[in-house]
């Protein structure tokens, strides 16, 4: 099948998948039988007011009708309103998206930047002392709770050493965000030559990015090493070695062949990182989508939860799609892998 058709087929499958996820979440948040009207109406509301608000929000309709109404609105881009912020969920999410993406971007970049070379070097001399140490560090990275790492970092670097500012958001309170270009305060600050802003953004970024990088490095190290080992023991490489190619050459070949699976892996790892990033955002009051989503889930803000989950699912699906396309394009031999 031509690649274009394959991609089209995948894209088409996305829509029912997202609809199913939306339905699932819609039903899920209503399991507990929470009554959101009380929060909206306030402590001194009368029964009549409560009923009025209930009918305004169509909460007195059967669940199928409610979902139908909601789904129809979603198709038009209306994700409903958050009860806690009283604003459209879509607006809330869009405002916070740059923060999340910036954190994830730097975090994955540094995590991969650490993890891939370590994994590769470990694979080149398996069971050697470097390998053992690296594997241990990787296992340690798997074992540290994300939020605890964030808290300890804050404790050590902020409270004890006073090297970094307190964990509260992306920018010092005194400063206004720079004009929007990319959404990253650091980059936009540099672009606008606002050095103080850029420097504050950087200092706020250091700890959270470090946490994300450390946690994300662990699986990257492990998988890179596994992939590299597999490639190194493949027939192709064995033949090259038997041919007498120098070690450096062999390693370069191994690298080339490992590149695709490693990139694939990092791509899929990103979806798992969403959860990690959300926890880091929570601990550092980062103001990103993850913190928003976690708070929404904890406080039963229905529309916000649904919107957040939808965005997550969409993001994951897009990442998987991108990875698949990447694979299809770089390894035509892989064939039609549906």
């Amino acid at each position: 099948m031509p690649v274009g058709l394959l991609i089209a087929r995948r894209v088409l499958l996305v829509v029912p998948l997202l609809a199913a996820i939306l339905l699932f979440t819609f039903l899920l948040v209503r399991i507990g039988g929470q009554d959101p009207v009380g929060l909206l109406a306030g402590p001194t509301a009368t029964q009549a007011e409560i009923e009025m608000i209930r009918s305004q929000l169509a909460l007195d309709q059967p669940i199928w009708v409610q979902f139908g109404v909601y789904f129809g609105r979603v198709l038009q881009g209306d994700l409903g309103s958050s009860w806690l912020s009283n604003r459209p969920v879509l607006t809330d999410l869009l405002e916070r998206a740059p923060a999340t993406f910036e954190l994830m971007f730097w975090g994955v970049l540094i995590g991969a930047g650490i993890g891939i070379p370590l994994g590769l070097r470990a694979a080149f001399r398996p069971d050697g002392p470097f390998d053992q140490t690296t594997r241990f560090l990787s296992l340690l990275g798997f074992s540290i709770p994300t939020y605890w790492l964030g808290l300890v970092m804050l404790f050590v670097f902020f409270f004890l050493l006073e090297w970094t500012p307190p964990g509260m958001g992306r920018l010092s309170l005194f400063l206004e965000p720079p004009p929007f270009v990319t959404g990253s305060y650091l980059i936009d600050g540099l672009l606008a030559a606002q050095w103080e802003v850029a420097s504050s953004a950087l200092s706020q970024l250091v700890l959270p990015v470090l946490c994300v990088a450390i946690i994300s490095a662990a699986p990257i190290i492990k998988q890179t090493r596994a992939i590299a080992l597999e490639v190194l023991s493949s027939d192709y490489i064995r033949y090259a070695r038997a041919q007498g190619l120098p070690q450096g050459e062999v390693r370069r070949m191994a690298l080339r062949n490992s590149a695709t699976p490693v990139v694939t892996f990092v791509g899929t790892e990103i979806t798992g990182l969403v959860g990690t990033t959300a926890l880091i955002e929570y601990v550092f009051a980062w103001g990103g989508m993850g913190q928003y989503g976690l708070s929404a889930i904890i406080q039963n803000d229905f529309a916000a939860i649904q919107g957040y989950v939808l965005v997550l699912a969409l993001f994951s699906v897009l990442v998987f799609l991108a990875v698949d396309i990447f694979v299809m394009l770089t390894e035509p031999r892989a064939g039609a892998r549906a």
Partner: protein, 297 residues
């Protein structure tokens, strides 16, 4: 391969099981260390009720936030409860959540994997699609959403974690089943007229289970981690239960005001136990996966 053999002079002096232990340790020190850590925790969890210096859930308002030392090895928390006793008791809770959760995962996942791998067809397609769909969620968000909606009981937490584990077991078993399905001994079993369930459970299962067993340690590590995360966010096990995640939740408030012991010690315990489980799982996977064994030569 018997691994590096013991010096001949000593070989006869050790009992067979100890020889096995040493042999395994040499082949996979990760496995050995992991197992050792885990056994320590298991022992502590079991004897905790007898060795705790204070009642882990006895509030002592007159001695709140005492720093470590003296009668309280790790200090006291915001309710005056002894942190050391709570950390010890937490081991019991960690096992108490991880073991049932993994069992649930196995109980649900293994039969599913067996069935779909063997039968194939539309049931297989649908179930695998559902699992794939679940994979687009970060598991923590999914667990969080379900437990937040269903309520913070131990039962819910264990059930949710177990159910989220089941796709992994199902996939592992399914892969093995697919490989075994066309093997000769299965074909002869079918020819002999065995009913499906017999083939599945008597013939295929014992061979397919290895992969699942190696997974259990890793899944248990994940179970401990995620139940702690849920508790930390306030959605899972709640105070004053001495669960490590719940303790870190309270500790977070005091960490930035200087009473570091409330949150640090449970965190360290959590890391050690999860590390132990991860090392055990990693070592098991090393041992049982022939490809990895070959690659490490």
């Amino acid at each position: 391969m018997s691994g590096a053999a013991l010096p001949a002079a000593r070989r006869g002096a050790l009992p067979w099981w100890l020889r096995r232990v040493v042999g395994v340790s040499r082949r996979s020190p990760t496995l050995a260390i992991g197992a050792a850590i885990l056994i320590c925790f298991a022992v502590l969890a079991v004897i905790a009720p007898w060795i705790v210096p204070h009642d882990p859930v006895a509030a002592n308002p007159r001695n709140v936030l005492a720093s470590p030392g003296g009668a309280h090895l790790m200090g006291t928390d915001g309710n005056g409860m002894d942190v050391f006793s709570r950390v010890l008791a937490g081991a019991g809770w960690a096992f108490g959540i991880a073991i049932p959760a993994v069992l649930v995962g196995i109980a649900v996942g293994v039969p599913l994997g067996l069935y779909t791998g063997y039968k194939g067809g539309w049931a297989d397609e649908i179930i695998m699609r559902v699992f794939d769909a679940l994979r687009v969620f970060p598991s923590i968000i999914l667990a969080l959403a379900v437990v937040a909606a269903a309520g913070p009981s131990l039962f819910n937490v264990v059930l949710v974690i177990g159910l989220l584990d089941s796709p992994v077991f199902a996939r592992v078993v399914r892969a093995e089943v697919l490989a075994l399905r066309n093997s000769t001994f299965v074909e002869s079993a079918i020819a002999a007229g065995n009913p499906t369930w017999r083939i599945l459970f008597v013939h295929i299962l014992p061979n397919a289970i290895q992969g699942a067993m190696a997974q259990s340690a890793v899944r248990a590590a994940w179970a401990v981690r995620i139940s702690a995360t849920l508790a930390f966010l306030g959605v899972g096990i709640q105070a004053p239960t001495p669960e490590w995640g719940a303790m870190i939740r309270q500790g977070a408030e005091y960490l930035v005001t200087g009473q570091w012991w409330v949150g640090i010690f449970p965190g360290i315990a959590l890391i050690l136990m999860v590390l132990g489980l991860n090392m055990l799982g990693d070592g098991l996977q090393d041992l049982l996966d022939p490809r990895r064994k070959a690659a490490s030569k």
